[in-house]
Symmetry: C2
Subunit: 127 residues, 2 copies
């Protein structure tokens, strides 16, 4: 990411929160992990059906990245037609509870946030 001025940000480079956001702040990674947790093992197209609004390209890219990071496994069956199955690794599974925690917080607080945002926008546009 930021390779320059390392000396200046050396303490921030070790900040775990930065790493988490850099890694999982993208649009699809977390959602895919959740789906694999909910449904267990899934084939490429089955996964695509659970997340209809992801492009095929982004699904492939995100799956490869998750595999590279050791969060999911990719098992290829040498058949015709080809079959590829994805599932969480142990490390991938260990992340789920923390995501669920955030999800529950969101479920409870998102209404407040949206209401607050509306009020704020009204105030601003009234001036």
């Amino acid at each position: 990411m930021e390779e320059r001025n390392l000396e200046k940000f050396s303490d921030l480079m070790n900040c775990p929160v930065r790493h988490v956001l850099d890694r999982f702040g993208d649009k699809w990674s977390v959602l895919i992990l959740i789906m694999l947790d909910e449904k267990g093992t899934l084939r490429f197209n089955a996964l695509h059906h659970t997340i209809p609004d992801i492009s095929q390209k982004m699904l492939t890219v995100t799956l490869r990245t998750l595999e590279a990071d050791g969060l999911i496994t990719r098992k290829i069956y040498p058949e015709i037609p080809p079959r590829v199955e994805y599932q969480l690794t142990e490390m991938g599974s260990s992340l789920i509870p923390y995501i669920d925690g955030l999800a529950k917080w969101a479920l409870h607080n998102m209404p407040h946030i949206l209401r607050s945002r509306d009020q704020y926008n009204n105030k601003v546009t009234l001036n």
Copy 2:
């Protein structure tokens, strides 16, 4: 965000995880919340010093968004020179434990992820 084809994604629009990522997946929001939790009340420049590598523009923008969402308060002292203090709201504070959970997971697992990523890249480039 996606205003079209709502009927198709109606169930996904209600997915709390999507909301969380849409809202906190940006580069700075979570980091600012953590700093305000650690340090308590902070002035604009003090906050900037705790996060040196954010631009002044993005600090302002992110603070306004957090304020609009009801996660922080912004208190202006009508003095010369001006003083503005930021601190977490109750809702903002309630999010911190979940962020900490993720941070601890990251602290423990990031080394594995980075190692896995390296191995994967070596494999690929060997072919």
